[in-house]
Assembly symmetry: C2
Homo-oligomer: 254 residues x 2
């Protein structure tokens, strides 16, 4: 296949690596993009890590990555809040990735404009209650992502969506969610990376998150069978392309 | 009004007391029941306290109360699980009230028959994750109550329903819920107290929890305007009686 795309937006887990193991076809392909000067970026629902930490992981796989090529759900959320509310005062539930993304925002524990919820593996009942109370009192309720469960060395553990569900149930308010399968993360990523939506293709392994989000965002999608979804054919809306691995995707000669 | 009821089942907060303040009309009325030898019991969604602790609070208001007249949602849950599963092995998320109610059950942290969730103000991410994992793997998922938020000295805090919502979202399973507005708590209370449903009247202040639950359970209901709901007239299903306070309710001469 010949590619008419000017830029590439990659999902990470299942697309570029599986857990701690790089996916060779993706590494070779992204290296080729770099060599040919074709822009690329990465999006991840993970809100606990900073873009720097994510970039470091990719560099260990031998990829050339600048920190600003990484858009985490935490960063996308900060970009979103910046656009929606001028000088927003925020209350943060989350870890280092979210704290860093919001480091320039004013923190407010009693009357914030927005309560921002990302995965917090040290969450306490008091913090959860405070978030629920502030949301109930009218603060904008924003979730970095709706992940249900995540793999860990102890087996599956709760994703951010579980914490968000607790706050949402208590406060009887629904959040605005930025991460996949919500298209806000893509909108923010394209803006941050200065990619044109009609000239960019989203590459992902998971139909329910990556491909669905790309389709919703109105962009071209490339499904790779190196991760979660091995067969997209039963879905009503098909990805633009579906291939076994990025070995099967050819770039035009430059 | 003359009463044809043989026994009385009372809600607590808003019906017998408001927070730490006894409701005089209720105290006098229950004292009269005791003097006339008319059986009465109490139900509460609170799963953190033991029946003994709840009875102590009522005794401080001058009421005569035996511990076995108190049916907490924790106790009702234990009775429910005992009926549903023989020798159930359980994983407990909760505080002293729930631990005590399940003290005779075998605990199992890896392959329980049921995961029992009551309010746990010391909940950790690890415990929440473990509960979600066990529920996802097939353990019966049982919630003591679906309370959203509760008053506290720090303002509103999360109720058990918030913790249940987190686990439910992560595991993609709905719980069986015992406490109000679910009628299981009434079914278990009537059984424990050996009250006949058709000869018992449920007394409560909150239409959405107490009265609705009594109606669902198919029993007579007496609404008192000493707590949350001051006017029931807009509801489709009316309580059997609605009075300003228990001063307005007369017992037959014995």
């Amino acid at each position: 296949m010949l590619s008419q795309y000017e830029s590439y937006l990659f999902d990470l887990d299942g697309t570029v690596y599986n857990g701690e193991k790089p996916i060779d076809s993706a590494i070779s392909f992204i290296t080729k993009l770099n060599q040919q000067g074709i822009p690329y970026g990465f999006i991840t629902n993970n809100s606990t890590k900073t873009p720097e930490q994510v970039a470091d992981k990719l560099r260990k796989f031998g990829l050339y990555v600048e920190t600003n090529q990484i858009v985490t759900s935490a960063l996308a959320t900060a970009l979103y809040v910046k656009k929606k509310i001028k000088k927003a005062r925020v209350f943060i539930v989350g870890e280092e990735g979210l704290e860093t993304a919001f480091s320039t925002f004013v923190k407010d524990e009693t009357q914030p404009d927005a309560v921002i919820v990302g995965l917090d593996r040290h969450i306490t009942y008091e913090k959860m209650s405070q978030a629920a109370r502030l949301v109930k009192e009218g603060a904008l309720f924003i979730a970095t992502n709706p992940d249900r469960m995540l793999p860990s060395s102890n087996g599956l553990v709760c994703g951010n969506g579980a914490i968000v569900a607790a706050i949402s149930y208590a406060a009887q308010k629904e959040p605005v969610t930025i991460g996949k399968p919500n298209k806000e993360i893509i909108t923010m990523a394209l803006e941050q990376l200065q990619f044109r939506k009609d000239k960019t293709i989203l590459v992902g392994d998971n139909y329910e998150t990556d491909i669905r989000t790309g389709i919703d965002a109105g962009m071209s999608t490339l499904h790779v069978k190196t991760g979660v979804t091995l067969d997209c054919s039963t879905y009503e809306n098909q990805p633009t392309f579906s291939i076994s691995s990025l070995d099967r995707w050819q770039l035009e000669e430059v």
